[in-house]
Symmetry: C2
C-alpha cells in the first residue's frame, strides 16, 4: 500500500514516518498490508531517503498541483499533519488560511479524484475549543475557537466530515492534546514551553517557563500520539459509530509536576535549569484552554492516554538515550 | 450610509430591501443614519431600480473581483443572504462549495480591504445541526451538519467569527429557522413544502405535502425574519456579549396546524387544495431537524418569534392582499 504523510519533516511527522517504516505494515480490515511506498511531503524534502520505500516530496501543500503530485492513483491512505501552528497563524492570517484551509482542501480534492476513497487522517487540535466552556468538554461541545489556527482546524474537521459523508474520503479526525515533550526545535505554538522546560534542561541549556507551575495543560506524549495516528489508520470505517471526530485522551499535568519528574529522573542540576518567569498574558491564554475532557468515545475506539507527568518525562528521556545511542 | 445586500433578488432579499428602503434609515450607535445607497446584488440584476437609492449589481459572488465591485470604499454594512440552498448544494457539491464557501470568503475579504470594518450580517441556518442532538439545542451545541449546505454555513459562521475577532468586520450571524410562508416560487430546500402548502392553495392551485401533518418544523415568518436582519444591523457591537452567533427564536409548528389555520382564514375550498402524500424519505429528513431550542441569548438581544401557525398564515394572507392592492 502507498501512504502519504504531509508535514513529514515536522517533529511528529518524523516520528510517525519512522514508526510506520519500522512496523512495515498496517492492519486494514483484518488483513496485514505491507507498506510499499511512503510519500513524505513537507515544505522542503524531509531527508528520509535512506529507506527505499520513501519518496520525498518538497513543496507547498497549497500550491496548485502539489496535492495531486503527492496523492497519486492507488494511494490508500493520507495522514495530514502539515499546518501553520497556532502562534504563526495568529501572526500571519493569510498564511494560516492558505496552508491550513486551502492546503487541506487541495489535499481532500486530490483524494476525491482517486478511484477508491483513501483513508484520510486529519490532525486537529484542542485549540478548536476556547472561551466559556462547560466543566467537561466532549465532541458534543460547540467549538468556539479563539485563534485563527483553531478556526482553520475546525473548518478542516467540517470538510473532512462532509468529504467522508459524501464518500470522497474515509476520514478520521484526531483532536490532539498538546504534544509534549517534543524533541525538535521550539515551535511557534503558545504551548511550546511545555516541551522547552524538559527538552532544553535535559540537553544542558536553560529554559524559561512563562506559565505558573500550577497551570494545568492537557498533554499527550509523542509516543502515544504516533500510536494514535497508526490506530486511526487501522480502525475500520464501521468502528466510527459516533462520527469521524474524536478528542484524544490526554493527561492534565502542570509544569511544576513535569519539572519535579525531571528532577527525580535527571537530578537537581538539570531541573534547576528551568527559570520561572510567569508572563501573565501567556499564562492567561494557556489557562483558558480546557483540561477536562469526556474522552469515552476515544476510549471505546481504543485510544490511550499517558499515565501522567512522570511517564511523559520518562518517555522523552528514553528517546533521548536511544537517539544518542544511534 | 451605504449598505450591500447579496441575494437581493431572492424572496427574503427582496423583502429586506423593500423594508430597508421604506424605513430609509438605521439606528447606528444611538444615532439615526440615512440609507443613501443600497447595493442590491444577485446573479442577475434584481430589478429594484425604481428607487434612486438602489444600485443593482448582477454577477456571481464567487467570481474574481465581483465582491470588491459590490463592497466599495465607505460601505457601512453588508447583509450576506446569497447562497446555494440545501437541496441544490447537496446535488452539486462543487457549486455549493464555490458559492457558499468561496463566495462568503470573497465577500469577507472585500470587507477586510475597507478602512473601517463594516457590519457584516450573515444568514446561517438551523441546518448546521443534524444527527444525534440533545433535547434542547443552543449555541453551545456542537454543529454536526448532515448536509453540505449545513457544513458550508457552519464554515461561514467560523469565518465570520474569526474575521470579527481580528477586527476585519463587525460580524453578526443569524441561524434562521425555516422561513415560511415564502411568497416566491418553490425553491430547492427540502423544507420548501412548508411554504407551498399555504402559498399555492391561497393562490388557487394544488399543493402536495410530503411530510406527515404532525411533523414539527421550526419556522419563522418572513416578516419576523426581515425584522431580525434589521435588528442585527442595528445592535451595537457591545451587545453581542456571548459571541456573534445567535440562533433566532422560532415556532415549532406542524403542517396540520398550518393548513387548519388556512382553513379558518380562507375556507375549506382553499385548505382542501392540499394533498397529503407522505414521502417517508423527506418526512425522515425533516423529522431529523431539531425543533426545540434554547433561544435565551436571542431573546436577550431582542429577537422575536411568531406566536404560532395562525400568526404565520395570517401574515402571509395580509401580505398577499397588500400585493394585490398595489
Amino acid at each position: 500500500m502507498r501512504l502519504v504523510v504531509t508535514g513529514a519533516g515536522g517533529f511528529l511527522g518524523r516520528s510517525l514516518v519512522r514508526a510506520l517504516l519500522e512496523r512495515g505494515k498496517l492492519v486494514v480490515d483484518g488483513a496485514e498490508v505491507e507498506i510499499t511506498e511512503l510519500v513524505a511531503c513537507d515544505l522542503t524534502s524531509p531527508d528520509m531517503a535512506a529507506d527505499a520505500r520513501v519518496r520525498e516530496l518538497g513543496g507547498d501543500i497549497a500550491a496548485p498541483g502539489f496535492a495531486a503530485t503527492a496523492v497519486t492513483a492507488g494511494t490508500a491512505a493520507v495522514v495530514h499533519l502539515a499546518a501553520v501552528v497556532s502562534g504563526a497563524a495568529e501572526r500571519d492570517f493569510d498564511l494560516g488560511m492558505r496552508v491550513n484551509l486551502d492546503g487541506t482542501r487541495a489535499l481532500l480534492e486530490a483524494c476525491r479524484a482517486l478511484e477508491t476513497p483513501p483513508r484520510f487522517v486529519f490532525a486537529s487540535s484542542v485549540a478548536v475549543y476556547g472561551g466559556a466552556l462547560p466543566l467537561v468538554v466532549s465532541e458534543s461541545t460547540a467549538p468556539t475557537p479563539l485563534t485563527s489556527y483553531g478556526i482553520q482546524k475546525s473548518i478542516g474537521e467540517l470538510l473532512v466530515s462532509d468529504y467522508t459523508r459524501r464518500g470522497f474520503v474515509d476520514g478520521r479526525v484526531l483532536r490532539l492534546p498538546t504534544i509534549t515533550v517534543r524533541g525538535g526545535a521550539p515551535n511557534a505554538a503558545v504551548t511550546s514551553f511545555a516541551s522547552d522546560i524538559i527538552r532544553d534542561p535535559a540537553r544542558g541549556t536553560e529554559a524559561v517557563c512563562p506559565v505558573s507551575p500550577n497551570t494545568k495543560v492537557w498533554v499527550l506524549s509523542p509516543r502515544r500520539g504516533v500510536d494514535a495516528f497508526i490506530r486511526a489508520l487501522e480502525l475500520p470505517a464501521e468502528a466510527w459509530v459516533e462520527g469521524r471526530i474524536v478528542a484524544l485522551p490526554g493527561a492534565a499535568v502542570t509544569p511544576g509536576e513535569m519539572v519535579e519528574a525531571l528532577r527525580e529522573m535527571a537530578g537537581d542540576d538539570t531541573a534547576d535549569r528551568v527559570r520561572w518567569e510567569v508572563d501573565p498574558f501567556i499564562d492567561g491564554i494557556v489557562s483558558s484552554f480546557p483540561v477536562a475532557f469526556d474522552t469515552s468515545y476515544a476510549e471505546e475506539l481504543g485510544f490511550e492516554a499517558d499515565a501522567g507527568a512522570a511517564e511523559i518525562v520518562r518517555y522523552f528521556l528514553e528517546e533521548e538515550d536511544a537517539v544518542s545511542d544511534r
